[in-house]
């Protein structure tokens, strides 16, 4: 941890090295402790910290970049000179809108000292509890427990001054028998938001109930999706089309659907980087405050998220979604509005269908409609006459995620936070979908 004063002082010092017309610097820092376990024992246990300065230098309508983690005067000076040199190499870009003006970002409390200071012994205790639960049922548990802190800060010659520090804690558990597997995942910016015993019980329960799965033929089935599977749907819709660059290039699932009711009426999806209910990051890598963006409202596809560059192309304002130093704008703090059904009610409303814990290795098959293929994993069950009947072997699906969300027949009443390793978070409920297309089965 650097701390606000030291981080901003470092960036001011770095800015003083710049000979460019304009410069901004994005500081990204992480202190991570991570304990991995497998076979009911710890096998990897690491700690690392790093501070990276990401520099953008502007000369006229030209922008050059450099990064460094060498924070000595020599290291920073080299990087500053490289960024300006790179800018001078660039052809002028008439569409370049310049670096963003300063806008105050909201302060969001997302710091938890126990998560920031969690020692390896405490992570080992959390993991040990899960391993004991698995061993008691004759299962092989594996997973990872991570804790730590992340800082971001932006200072620019246009007057941007922004700093945020947040913490994270997460636990992933897979429990396996010879014929089954169960999964659970919890994450929060608070250490006490990760309930290791409960997550262990959830994974172990799925693995126990999943023993001796029966094969089932591929085909169209109604499905009840646990929130883990819904997280995958929102992640894919984000990566393959909620950013303005994809829309401007015509390759987003949103193209042709903006203003159209393409999803079921109860479906509302928004991005909100400043919400303490997610994993808050109140401003982006350009220092622009992250605005709440209504991406789908009552089933109607609305607008994508922007960075400064894509916003200028559309005559709009940046929504603060330059998630990383380079690359397109990304919606990375997504929420789906919960409904009014318990998971038991969603299952009870299903005459014959499948309960899916999560999807695995999902990839885009076709841009239009966001057609994805992937596998089910770690707890797939047949539902008959409103009850979980028996476990089934995993299936491959090939399915438009847009069409899937246009067949929503019920929404869970709890929205759960799914915090992914790369700074991507969703808060999503379980769903019942009227139809899902399974195209293959595994051995």
């Amino acid at each position: 941890m650097i701390g606000e004063h030291a981080a901003l002082t470092l960036l001011e010092r770095a800015l003083s090295f710049s000979a460019a017309q304009h410069t901004d610097i994005y500081l990204s820092s992480q202190d991570l402790g991570l304990t991995r376990f497998a076979g009911n024992a710890i096998h990897q246990n690491v700690s690392h910290s790093n501070v990276t300065l990401n520099i953008r230098a502007v000369e006229g309508q030209r922008l050059g970049r450099a990064t460094t983690n060498d924070l000595s005067d020599g290291g920073i000076g080299r990087a500053m000179a490289a960024a300006r040199r790179n800018a001078l190499l660039m052809p002028e870009d008439p569409a370049f809108p310049g670096l963003p003006e300063p806008h105050p970002a909201p302060r969001v409390a997302s710091w938890d000292e126990p998560a920031a200071a969690c020692p390896p012994q405490l992570r080992a205790q959390m993991v040990g509890e899960v391993c004991r639960q698995g061993a008691a049922e004759g299962l092989n548990t594996a997973g990872a427990c991570r804790t730590g802190a992340q800082e971001i800060a932006v200072v620019s010659s246009r007057g941007v001054r922004a700093y945020h520090a947040g913490t994270f804690a997460g636990l992933i558990v897979t429990a396996r028998s010879d014929t089954s597997a169960g999964w659970a995942k919890g994450g929060s910016w608070r250490l006490d938001g990760v309930d290791a015993p409960a997550l262990g019980r959830e994974a172990v329960d799925r693995a126990v109930r999943g023993r001796n799965p029966q094969p089932i033929p591929p085909g169209q089935y109604p499905v009840v999706l646990a929130h883990y599977a819904v997280d995958d749907i929102l992640e894919a819709l984000s990566l393959y089309g909620m950013g303005a660059q994809a829309v401007q290039e015509g390759r987003s699932w949103m193209n042709g659907l903006q203003g159209v009711q393409a999803m079921s009426e109860p479906v509302s999806i928004w991005d909100d980087g400043a919400s303490p209910d997610g994993w808050p990051l109140p401003f982006d890598a350009e220092g622009v405050p992250r605005r709440r963006v209504e991406i789908v409202g009552n089933g109607v596809v609305n607008v994508p998220v922007h960075n400064t560059y894509t916003a200028a192309q559309d005559g709009a304002a940046s929504t603060g979604h330059q998630a990383y130093f380079t690359g397109p704008p990304i919606a990375s703090n997504l929420f789906m509005r919960p409904g009014d059904r318990t998971i038991e009610q969603l299952v009870a409303a299903t005459r014959r269908g499948l309960y899916i814990t999560r999807f695995f290795y999902t990839r885009l098959s076709h841009n239009k409609g966001c057609v994805m293929t992937g596998m089910t994993r770690d707890g797939t069950f047949l539902i008959e006459d409103g009850e979980i009947k028996h476990p089934v072997k995993d299936l491959r699906f090939t399915q438009s995620y847009v069409d899937a969300l246009n067949a929503v027949e019920g929404i869970g009443n709890e929205a759960n936070l799914v915090l992914n390793e790369v700074g991507f978070a969703t808060r999503v409920p379980a769903l019942k979908l009227g139809n899902f297309n399974f195209t293959g089965a595994t051995v």
């Binding site: 497998a38 096998h43 990897q44 700690s47 690392h48 970049r65 190499l89 098959s365 596998m375 090939t398």
Partner: protein
């Protein structure tokens, strides 16, 4: 810098580590990207740091720092030992590294032309020219071209006496054209998809790609795909798969499946496990007689080429599949010990602040005897597909489904109409056992995969895959909806 490494090892040993290694890595990277006429990114990136790995009381600990001072290195070593003690307290079998590793020496990727010696203006001009040629083709909605150059200086030492210094160079580049129209989106890439083709080589590698000379063809193919016929829907047919797609097929269905840490369950909660369990070694028919697969770290310009791995084990070559029979794994010192074997040098970390993991080196399908024209002429009815568009495989590496950018119908031994949205799916051993022909060395190329994800915290590995076009019988194609 050597004094920092020695200090890390001394501090770790003094605090009780039974084994320690330290890896100091300095990385320089240049990135260039042009997007639809605009120089999108020119970036110069540097990173430096040291990682300290220890075994304490039979358990692993690891810590790292980017502050290159004796005090900071001492702290990192002390934290590594503390973490190792916490791991040991949780139980589990003690780490057995097998025989000591005492390698010493210096290695550098041989390059004809140092890519960092080429003026940035020349690199950018190459991309702008390539982009301009793609722009000549009407109907393209987005154009992207990029170059990347990496120089990694790495010093590794351990408490067993190993001390090796390496400088690894990588050069990569690629182009992509996207066409949109009639409710369809189509993309073509060159030399392959995944953003670019990359190898352990110098500027000569980029020159040989002839990016400008291929720009208009690539863009024209993307536009042609908009109105091409769809791949036949959900049929079983003969498939000839182009070299770059065979490379990815090897990566996903063989390369990951032979990682012994996956086999032993270390990646079970994340990337998954493997169907190639230890009982199958020397006792399983993975593919047909014409399937011969090798893992090596010596065949340049493969991205898995180096002098020593990140445990100091020398580069080498290992047979994986011989005439269809499964005979070898990718192994670390610790995992090899569990089978009574010795490491074949496959441990690599993506950065100084990441723990080394078993990573694919250059996992390649050895060439066969066929000329591609003869193979097509020998195929009565089928489809030729190439250049990956999507890839998915289950957690045991059995059930896969791939999409390709382009397909061509084969009828009575001749290539016919262009096909769009081609996909194929199968079960790994059934698929490789259906292989009845592999093209010869004149069609064989070393493909690079610079984005192989594995581990927690995540690491992007760089892997090589030599491959030539190959033919597979009775493959299910055309699964789209």
């Amino acid at each position: 810098m050597d004094s920092l490494i020695a200090r890390a090892l001394d501090t770790a040993a003094a605090r009780g580590a039974g084994y320690a290694d330290a890896r100091l890595v300095e990385t320089a990277q240049e990135r260039y990207s042009v997007r639809s006429g605009v120089a999108d990114v020119i970036s110069s990136d540097e990173s430096v740091g040291i990682g300290v790995r220890v075994v304490v009381d039979g358990a692993w600990g690891f810590a790292s720092t980017n502050t290159m001072t004796p005090e900071s290195v001492d702290r990192a070593a002390a934290v590594a030992v503390e973490i190792g003690r916490a791991s040991a307290a949780s139980g589990g079998p003690p780490v057995d590294l097998g025989p000591p590793v005492t390698s010493r020496g210096v290695y550098s990727t041989p390059v004809d032309v140092d890519p960092f010696g080429i003026a940035p203006e020349e690199k950018l001009a190459l991309l702008l020219e390539t982009d301009g040629r793609m722009a000549r083709v009407a109907g393209i909605s987005a154009r992207q071209s990029n170059l990347i150059f990496i120089r990694e200086r790495k010093t590794f030492a351990n408490t067993e006496g190993a001390h090796v210094e390496q400088t690894i160079y990588e050069s990569g580049g690629g182009i992509q054209a996207t066409a949109v129209g009639g409710g369809e989106v189509q993309r073509r890439s060159y030399p392959q998809s995944m953003g670019r083709q990359q190898g352990c080589s110098g500027w000569e590698y980029i020159r040989a790609m002839e990016l400008p000379a291929n720009a208009e063809r690539v863009a024209s193919e993307a536009v042609a795909l908009l109105t091409a016929d769809h791949c036949p829907s959900d049929i079983a047919t003969t498939l000839i798969i182009g070299g770059s797609q065979v490379g990815l097929q090897i990566h996903e269905s063989c390369g990951h499946a032979i990682e012994l840490d996956r086999v032993l369950g270390s990646e079970a909660a994340y990337a998954g496990t493997s169907f190639l369990t230890a009982d199958k070694l020397h006792n399983f028919r993975y593919g047909s007689d014409c399937v011969n697969i090798t893992a090596d770290s010596i065949r340049l310009p493969g991205l898995g080429s180096f002098g020593w791995d990140d445990e100091g084990v020398p580069a080498q070559s290992t047979p994986i599949v011989e005439a269809g029979r499964f005979v070898g794994y990718l192994m670390s010192r610790e995992t090899a010990s569990t089978l009574g074997l010795q490491s074949n040098g496959t441990m690599r970390a993506s950065s100084w602040n990441r723990l080394p993991l078993i990573r694919m080196t250059n996992v390649s399908l050895e060439p066969g005897q066929w000329e591609l024209d003869d193979l097509i002429a020998d195929t009565d009815d089928g489809i030729l597909v190439d250049t990956n568009r999507s890839w998915s495989i289950d957690d045991r590496r059995y059930n896969f489904q791939f999409g390709t950018e382009v397909g061509y119908e084969i009828k009575r031994g001749k290539l016919g109409r262009l096909l769009r949205n081609c996909t194929y799916t199968g079960i790994t051993p059934e698929f490789w056992n259906s292989c009845d022909a592999v093209c010869n060395s004149s069609h064989w190329n070393m493909w690079g995969t610079p984005n192989c994800g594995k581990g927690q915290p995540g690491q992007l590995g760089h892997t090589g895959h030599g491959a030539a076009p190959a033919r597979f019988r009775n493959v299910r194609v055309g699964v789209m909806r």
